[in-house]
Every structure is written in C-alpha cells, then in structure tokens.
C-alpha cells in the first residue's frame, strides 16, 4: 500500500509470473520503456494495449505574469507528455468505487454536511413500541375484567339470536385468538392465565341460572340447538387451543352432563358462548394490530434505519470481509440491492464505512421489506 515500486521490482514480479530470469525480465522492462520514449519522440503517440496511450502534446509559447514582481515574461513552447489509461486499467484501478454513480441532488439538499462524515444513526424510538405493548395489555385486562359481568347480565335469548352471527365471527376469530395468545404469551403470560382463570370462574355462576334459561331454550327450534351444538364444538377447539387441561376436564364433565340434562347443558354452552364472543370481539379489535407486532417486536430488538425501506428483524449470518470486498458490493451480492449497505453499517455499528479493514467480522442482518 502506497509503497514505491521501481523498475527492478517490477521486473522481479514479471520474472516470477512468467518464469524467466530476473536479468531477462529487467532488460525486457527497460526495453519497453525505452521504446515508448523513443517512439514518443518520433510518432508523438504510443498506444499500448492494457496500459494506455502516451501522447506528446506541444504547448505553444505564451505570455505570463510573474505574480511577485508583476513582470511579463514568456513561457517557451514545449512538449508535454500526456497519458490516458486504457479503459481496462482505469476500471481496474477504480474498482473500489465502481458501484457509485452520479446522482442528481434534489432541491433543498444541504451539501454543507458533506464535510462532516458523521454516520451516527439515530436510535430507534423504542419507547413507542413499548407503550404500544402496554396499551395492548391494558386492553386485554379490561376485557377480562368485564367478562364475568356480561356473562351474568346478558339474557340467553339475546345470546341465542346473536349466536349465528357471532358463530361466524368466532370462526373468523379463531386463528387471531391463537395469534393473540402466542403474541401475548412471551410478553405477559399472566394475562393469558388470567383469561383462563376467569372463564372457569364464570361457569359455575352461569350453571345455577341455567334451569330458568333452559325453558326458553327448549321453546326454540331444533335448528337453534344445533347451532349451539356447533358453538360448543368450536368452543371445545378453542379451549384446546388454550391448552388448559383443567378446562378440558371441565368440558368433559359438561359433556357427560349433557347426556342427563340436555336442557340445562344447552343453555350452558350458550353461556359459554358469552365468554367466547367476548374473546372474539377482543380478538377482532386487536387482530389487525397483533399481526404486525410479530415483525415489529422482532424489529424493536434491533436498531432500525429511520425512514428505511426495510426492517431489521434478526441476524442472518456472519461474514468476514475478504480482501477486495467492500460493503456496497457485499450488500448487492446478498440482498440484491447495494443500498442495503446502510443496514449492514447500522447493524454492525461501523463508525467509518469508508474504512472497514480486511478481516472484519460483519453480522449480516435479516431484512424484511416494510
């Protein structure tokens, strides 16, 4: 790097490459430059493939002024040697910057900041996502608290009428509910447990009331009863999803009771339905949001590029920077977009992207398009 290579060293390199003696190589290199000079004087132009073109340009004599004394004097006409590197050599030399292109600057771009190459990227506003999670938790807790009351209050007839619609809702909601439980679980498992606890508590309350409700249920058509049966099945699936063994056994007891007292049990699932719609409503309210937090939550763990096109959601692999590699090239190779180099820079906390030493271990981020 930046060392001075003389003709002798050049010849040594050539000798090693071509397997000739150093002496031979030296005479060869010497001859090459001799011929260039000799022919430059004659032809004014020497073109060498792979190296470039040497030209002899004559400069006419011109008048100039001595800046110190103000005296006018004449610069004699002379010959000037110009050298234009061959395209191959030029590109080879410029290889580290080959990926850059001239870009048009938009209005209002401040070029004064070009002087300071400060690449400190703002840390991601983590507070925002945290507060989001907190409100999410509060919501669920509220719903959980309300649940027992609503179960006690809502008349079964009303419930029955709503059932078909709610049933559909429940079908839709089924998946989101599981999503919610999985999303919430890592954040605050106790909330999910709370829900579980509240449901069994509400059941004993509803059972004593059931005889009265049962009469009204009996008067309903058989279709209604089949609806409730479907509801019961779906509820069973839901309960299984919660994976609560306690609830499972409880359900079995109800199922056995169904055989003895169909009327009472018919009401009980309806009561249970009260709990389910509550959840389905809750899940519907939150369903659109929770799906994103899975990505956002992952993203919150890592520093993000403000206004960037991608989100960093994880670490993909580690890469040791080899000789001749540079971040833009690496980014293009891995993500197919050289602009993603900024994410590598951010992810590794590189202070000076212009100078990343060979052998640097780079963590490559997992990127998800926003």
């Amino acid at each position: 790097m930046n060392s001075k290579i003389t003709l002798v060293e050049l010849a040594e390199g050539l000798a090693a490459r071509k397997g000739i003696s150093k002496k031979e190589a030296e005479t060869f290199v010497r001859n090459v430059f001799d011929i260039i000079e000799a022919n430059l004087a004659v032809d004014k132009l020497v073109k060498i493939k792979g190296l470039g073109t040497f030209k002899l340009v004559s400069v006419e004599s011109r008048e100039s002024v001595n800046v110190n004394t103000g005296e006018r004097f004449v610069i004699e006409g002379h010959a000037r040697v110009t050298f234009t590197p061959d395209a191959v050599l030029r590109d080879q030399v410029n290889k580290p910057f080959a990926d850059f292109e001239t870009t048009i600057l938009n209005e209002g771009v401040d070029t004064t900041m070009m002087e300071s190459t400060d690449f400190s990227l703002e840390p991601l506003p983590e507070v925002e996502t945290e507060s989001e999670a907190v409100t999410l938790l509060e919501d669920t807790e509220e719903v959980v608290e309300e649940m027992p009351e609503t179960i006690a209050e809502i008349p079964s007839d009303e419930l029955e009428a709503e059932t078909p619609a709610e049933n559909l809702e429940e079908c839709v909601a089924e998946a989101p509910v599981s999503v919610i439980s999985t999303v919430l679980a890592p954040v605050e498992p106790s909330v999910v447990e709370e829900i579980k606890e509240n449901i069994p508590e509400s059941e004993p309350e509803s059972v004593p009331e059931s005889p009265a409700i049962a009469e009204s249920v009996e008067r309903k058509s058989g279709l209604r009863i089949s609806w409730t049966a479907i509801c019961a099945c779906l509820l069973g699936i839901l309960l299984l999803m919660f994976g609560c063994f306690y609830l499972g056994t409880k359900w079995n007891k109800h199922a056995s009771a169904e055989a003895d007292k169909p009327a009472v049990v018919a009401a009980t699932p309806a009561k249970k339905m009260a709990a389910v719609p509550q959840q389905s409503v809750q899940s519907q309210e939150e369903a659109p949001t929770p799906k994103e937090p899975t990505v956002e939550e992952l993203a919150a763990k890592y520093p993000q590029l403000p206004g960037g096109e991608y989100l960093i959601v994880g670490e993909k692999e580690e890469h040791t920077l080899a000789r001749g590699e540079y971040l833009y090239q690496l980014a293009r190779k891995i993500y197919g977009d050289k602009e993603t180099a900024a994410y590598i820079i951010l992810f590794n906390g590189i202070d000076n992207p212009d100078n990343v030493p060979v052998g640097t271990k780079l963590k490559l981020p997992e990127l998800v398009k926003k």
Partner: protein, 91 residues
C-alpha cells in the same frame, strides 16, 4: 505507434518471437495493474511515475439546467513524466 508495431519493435530488440513478446508484455501489464490496484506508486527512473490518486466526491452544477449532481469519489491513475525525459524530449 500502435500496439502491434510496438510489439514488433520490442521482439526485434529482445531477439525473441512476437508471440513470446506478447506473452511477456501481458505479464508486465498484469504486474503493473496489480501493483496499481494496491495503490503502489510505480516509479521508472528516467521515464516517470504511475500513481493512483483518490478523487473525492463533489457537487457539480449543470449550467444549462442549474441541476446539481453529486459526482462520486473515484480512483484515478496519473502519470507524471520525469524531468529528465521531459528535457530529452524538448531538446
């Protein structure tokens, strides 16, 4: 003088075939390229210096459209002729 004439002259001087000269010349160019890639200065006594210089990025303005453009940094190969050769050529 083009590359062909140059190789012919070189082979005559070295007393080797044009084919061998071409092979050697390719090797020499490869060696020069390699050295320049590593940002080494090639200094040939009585001929001149080959040096790679880094040009910083800069903002240019198209005078016609007043459009500002950011020109990226680049590495440029410079040749600086030695003073002895300059004198000889001007003599």
């Amino acid at each position: 003088m083009n590359n062909k004439e140059f190789l012919a002259e070189l082979s005559r001087r070295m007393n080797i075939s044009v084919r061998d000269t071409t092979a050697l010349m390719t090797g020499l160019v490869a060696e020069i390229t390699n050295q320049l890639e590593e940002e080494n200065v090639i200094s040939i006594q009585g001929f001149g210096n080959f040096e790679v210089k880094k040009k910083l990025e800069r903002v240019v303005v198209n005078p016609g459209t007043k459009q500002r453009m950011l020109v990226p940094p680049k590495m440029v190969l410079n040749f600086r002729v030695s003073s002895t050769m300059k004198e000889r050529l001007n003599a």
